[in-house]
Structure formats: C-alpha cells, structure tokens
Symmetry: C2
Subunit: 404 residues, 2 copies
C-alpha cells in the first residue's frame, strides 16, 4: 500500500480545508493509502520536500479543520508549467522518496491544468504516478461544474454584508452614493451574487464593457427616482479597451503611485466628479469575503468536504488519474424547486485553462442587475449554516500546518 499526497494551491477560501479534511477522513474510513501526507505551500513546498503527515488527525481536529478558513497547508503562487520536465522530475523524486503514488491537488483552473499536464506526462515518464484534481475558487469560474466549492460561502458573506451595508446606507437622508467592491477579476459571479438580497440598484461586471456615459445616466436615474443608489462592482470591471476601472482615471497623470483606489473608489469619484452627488461611501470586501469561516454556507462546506471524500474514494480505482471531481446540479430536482448536488468526475483537460464567465443571458441591460434565473441559481448555494464550534465568541480554528 502506497501513500498519497494532498496539496492546496491558489487563493484560499472559507472551505478549502473541508476538502482536505474529506480526503483525510475518507482514508480513515477506508485506508486506500498507508499515509496521507500534506504538501506544504502548494507545489512550491512540495518540490522542496516539505510534507506534513495528516493520516491520523483526530475526528475533533478534522471537525475544526472543516471550519478553519484559508489554506491550512499553506499555498503558493508558483505554477507548474507544462513541459517543465525539471519540476516534474523533481516532484516524482519527492513522491518516490515518500512512497507516494497519488497526488490530490486542490486548486483553481491553473491547478487543474497542472493535473492534466502531470497525468499526461506521467503516462509516459512515470507510470503508476497519479494526479487527481479537487476544484476550489471563490471566483466560480471553472467549467464544466455547476459551481465551485468556496464560491457559495464567499457569496454568502458578500450577501450578508450587502444587506447590512444597504440598511446602514438607507438610514441616512443626505445625498451620497454607496459602492461595494468584491473580488472577481475575470468573472463577475461573486458581484452578481450580491443581487440575491434585493438590495443592489446597479451592478458592474467584468462581462460587460464599462460605458461611462451610459452608467452615469443610470446613476442619475436612480437618484432622480429614489434619492439613493447602491452599487456593486466587480474588481475586474473594465472599459472596452481592457483598461480596468481599478487602474483609476488619473493613472496617466504621472503620479501613478498616488492612484490608490480600486474599482469602487473610481466609480465613486466618477459620480462625484459628474456632480450627481457631493459624496459617497466605498466598501471593499477584498479578502474578508473569501476567508470568512464565520459565515460558511452549509451547502458549501458539506460539498467541499464530500468532494474531498469523493476524490479519495474514486481513487481506489488504479486507473483513476488525470481526473477532476466536480458538482453538477440535479436538474430534475431543480425543476421541482429543490436543490440537490450530483458528484461526477471528468478529465482534467475539460477544466483546464478556461474561464467560465457569468452568463450573458443572466445579465440585465443597463447595469440593472441579474435575471430571476440567476437568482434561482444563487439562492440554494448560500442556504444553511454549519454549527460552528465557538470559543470566546470566535470560531475555533486549527493552527496552520505550514506554521507549526
């Protein structure tokens, strides 16, 4: 019986550790592998041989790991490139050193591409070595899944803060605009999800080239109509020429270091400069949305855990490699107004290097938000709250393995 390795890559999420816990727990229920080793700091630490033995984590530790945000193994921004034989050979060397035949790689589209490349390469150069992908990303931009673990919890935090800050904004009478910025460089899923609370007046997504005049007209109309305007913008919103809003309008004035604002700040300033209102409030959720374990979605943390289990269980088949596990929505249940997840596996090549953008047909024209179909997509994902283990008023977390 050989060992397996699990590593985490890319940006942390509120539930990426639940997938890790799922792999470890599945192996305790059915010890397909002798040891479950964690690679520290993603592929970077793994290549350096930095491993942590997770095999015998207690049930209590695994329960706490499920509610611990961020990547407990640590992550990295280092990407394994296709045809980087040196890195591939070094990885296999580390695997051989530790009697590892299988790598579970938890990450986004880049990581799924790495799984694909490694599996392809191994077929010829390292027979018996297997590479399996477990997706995660708050951006929700992976194909061909219904959604990606991490996104629902980020959406839940974003929705909670949208509603709370909208009520805060509504308490005032004076004319000011409110702009909330959320993560999402290439895809606007997270920004769009904020519409689930019914609080968003205008929505600016990366999927629609930004048109300043058209946008300002809509802002004016909202103020004329209701005396206020609550806007959500995705960090990746951009003009037709590709320039990000977050680059700032004064980016070319020679004082680039002074241009500090993000997309929300740019929009606020644009609205003030247009004389629509004299002031505004900007709120940037930034990392507070992606790692907020105190607002995990029960659907999300359960699915993330079960995806980890599913990947482990499927790997009992020795031919299972170059595959990624994922979630599809049970369409029959959805037709009846119920939500149900279906787990599946598909070749990593289907996941690799593609960006699933927020569907054009779900976007209302003129920054007016999203369609009912979009809301029906979002709503079940943010349902339910896990019963968190609390101490001193805060969710208990497990110390990160990379910091021990």
């Amino acid at each position: 019986m050989g060992n397996c390795l699990v590593a985490q890559s890319g940006g942390p999420t509120a539930v990426i550790n639940a997938s890790l816990a799922g792999v470890v727990r599945a192996n305790q229920l059915n010890p397909v592998y002798d040891r479950v080793l964690g690679g520290l700091h993603g592929i970077e630490g793994t290549l350096a041989g930095k491993l942590f033995d997770l095999t015998d984590l207690s049930g209590r530790d695994l329960e706490i790991l499920r509610q611990t945000p961020s990547s407990a193994l640590g992550t990295c921004r280092y990407k394994l490139k296709r045809r980087n034989d040196a890195d591939f050979l070094r990885l296999v060397e580390v695997m051989d050193d530790h009697d590892i035949d299988t790598l579970f790689y938890i990450g986004g589209n880049d990581s799924m591409d790495t799984v694909d490349a490694l599996a392809e390469w191994a077929a010829e150069n390292a027979p018996g070595k297997r590479f399996i992908g477990i997706p995660k990303t708050v951006d929700n931009d992976l194909v061909p899944v219904d959604h990606c673990p991490g996104f629902p919890s980020a959406a839940k935090v974003a929705c909670q803060i949208t509603h709370a800050t909208r009520l805060d904004y509504d308490a005032y009478t004076r004319p000011e605009v409110f702009v909330l910025e959320v993560m999402g460089r290439d895809a606007g899923w997270l920004a769009a999800s904020c519409c689930a609370t019914g609080d968003v007046d205008l929505l600016v997504l990366p999927e629609v080239d930004f048109d300043k005049d058209a946008f300002l007209n809509e802002v004016r109309a909202k103020f004329d109509e209701q005396g206020e305007c609550y806007i959500v913008v995705s960090e990746g919103a951009h003009y037709a020429d590709g320039t990000y809003l977050s680059a700032g309008e004064s980016a070319n004035d020679g004082f680039a270091h002074a241009v500090l604002g993000g997309a929300a700040q740019t929009l606020k300033q644009m609205i003030v400069d247009a004389g629509i209102v004299p002031r505004g409030v900007v709120q940037d959720l930034s990392r507070a949305a992606r790692s907020s374990n105190f607002a995990q979605s029960l659907v999300d943390v359960t699915e993330a855990y079960e995806l980890g289990m599913s990947a482990h269980m499927r790997s009992a088949d020795p031919a299972f490699t170059g595959q990624v596990v994922g979630i599809r929505r049970d369409e029959a249940a959805a037709a009846e107004g119920r939500y149900n997840a279906r787990f599946f596996a598909a070749p990593a090549s289907e996941f690799a290097n593609q960006v699933r953008r927020f569907p054009a047909e779900w976007i209302l024209p003129n920054y007016q938000g999203v369609t009912e179909e979009a809301l029906a997509y979002f709503r079940p994902l943010i349902e339910g709250e896990p019963k968190l283990v609390m101490e001193g008023g805060l969710p208990v977390t497990l110390p990160a393995f990379n910091r021990r």
Copy 2:
C-alpha cells in the same frame, strides 16, 4: 397617560435597534405610555413631524428588530445645538401635537449632550417634558460607562475578520505586508479589540502620535524575525501635528483628488516605499464592521435591549429626566473571572461632549499591541451568539420604518 417618543441618532450599529425594541417591549409589559412613537431620521425628521407608531409591534417583529442592523427609524447628521431655542420650541410643539411628554434619545456623546441641553432648557421653558438618553456607539468612547452598546458586536466582527484574514495572509510565503483598517476616528477601542485574537503584530492607534521612523523600525524587526507583519490601524491614527495618516503622504502635491487611500493604504505604501517588502494587502472594514448583524455578540444585543428596557422602566418615575442609562462592569464578579453587567443611570452632563480614549496604560510601547488587562476587558464583551432567525441563508431583518 401621555405618549413617548424614541429617536435614533448618529452612526448605526448592529444592535441600536435592540435598544429600540427594548423600549417598545417594556411599554408592552407595563404601559407607562399610551403610545410609543418613533421619530424618523433622528431629530431631523422628528422636527418635521415624521413619526411612526411602534406601540403594537408584534413579539415576532420585535424579535426580528433585535437582529436588524442599522437604525430602523433612520438617522441624521443634524445636531441640536445648545441655546437653539427655535429647534427646541419646534420639538416641544411636535411633542405637544402628539401628546408626547418623554423623549428617549438613542445616540452617542453628541446626543447625550442634546439630552442634557434639552432637559436643562425644559426645566424652565417646558415643564413636564422629559429627555432621557440611551447610549450607543461602535467607537466605545463614552464616559462614564464600562462600554457602550454597539461596540462589542463591532469588535466581534473585527476580531473574526482579523483572525480569518490573518490565516489567509499566513497561507502565503512571499514577502508582503498586511494592513487592516478599522473605524475609530478619536479613540482606538475597535482597533485595539482586534488584538483579542492574538493575530496582530503591530497596532497603530489614535492615542499615540504616529512616528514614522519608529514604526518602520518595528515593521523591519517583524519581517526579520518572522518574515511577515500583520498590522491593524485605526482610521483616526495621526502624526504629532494632528495630520491624519488617512490624509495621505501626497496630500499636498496639488493632486488631492487622486489621494484616495485611507490610513491602511498609507501605511502599506510607506512600508513599500521604505523598501521593506515589495508589496502589501490592504483591508478596510469600514461599515462592514458596524452594521454586521450576522455576527452580533450575545452580550451586546442582550445589553442593548435591556438598556432600552431599563430606560423605559426608570422613566416611570416622573422626576426621571436629563438622565442617561449605562452599563458598568461588576467588579466583584470580574475579580472572580466572571463577567456581569450592572445597569445605572447618571446625569446626561456626565456623558456629554467627552471622549473616552483607549487607556494609555493599556497600550504597549512601540506599536506592540495591548496589555493583558486590555484583553481581559475585551474578551467577555464578544462572548456568545444570539440564535438568529434565518431565511434563505441570511438573517431576517425588519424593513426600516423610514422606508415604509
């Protein structure tokens, strides 16, 4: 039997509506007043005669009101000034029109000054009209209380996000600084509370004049020692000459409109410009901390509710005017390691126009955070979570009265 009026003033909090619910519920338990009327948009709407009858809100509505953030009656930035006889006369006119003899005013130090001024003025000019204060503020800067409703919940959110973003930060290896900014213009209570999680490396408070060189030395030391540095800064942090950090270092370059950053952004840029690390991450909690009902502290929401009840109950004594209710910590219990609140009332003049700063003796030198005494002060306040009524994965809220 006359009526009473309740109004909310200043910045919203996560539990200011719990105090409102407490007044309404107390009157249902013992109808000292015939009607409980809410003044919309603080004193501004009240002067305009915009009232909403709260007397018969259902038990269910009051339960939801307790978990609804922001000011359900609306708020305003309009301040009643001392010796503004026109406003005072108009207020008494509105009170007379609606047979109101008592005003409960929920607000911060300015509002408590208003209560004092109104009571003093009424003694001579409007006998029988009474003015009673119920404190709230996330800034926690009121004397002579132990703490102020709204602060504990804001501190709890700040602590939760501090810990979550610290874990997120810890997941990476590359050299970058992390700076979290929280509210607190004149007092650093909220920033200091973030230290309760044990995650803060350096703390920058308004109570200590900012010394750039000394600060950068500490940042360097942290990176030398541990390769990372997690900083919390209060929005009101300033240099010895009173200039706010949030004013930006380039504020005088003639391009003031391009200076968009807050205190955190300024610190990050300062550290990068000093060549300590090439980059950094900034997170500004801004309004997400003060109105986040999804993370109410049980201690806080209970005390806010009970302060509302206490104010109502004490007002059964016709001589009760010009007073503010507040909370003191039971020192005997504290000596035994337990937390217990004691409710008291004191003349509004004791609360008015003073700022209670974070105690100098609780601040460690060289931006190293706070003492154990400070942590012992914070910890009981963020304890416990109310059982929230949820729907669709979000806390249910009551539609604001000012928007109906």
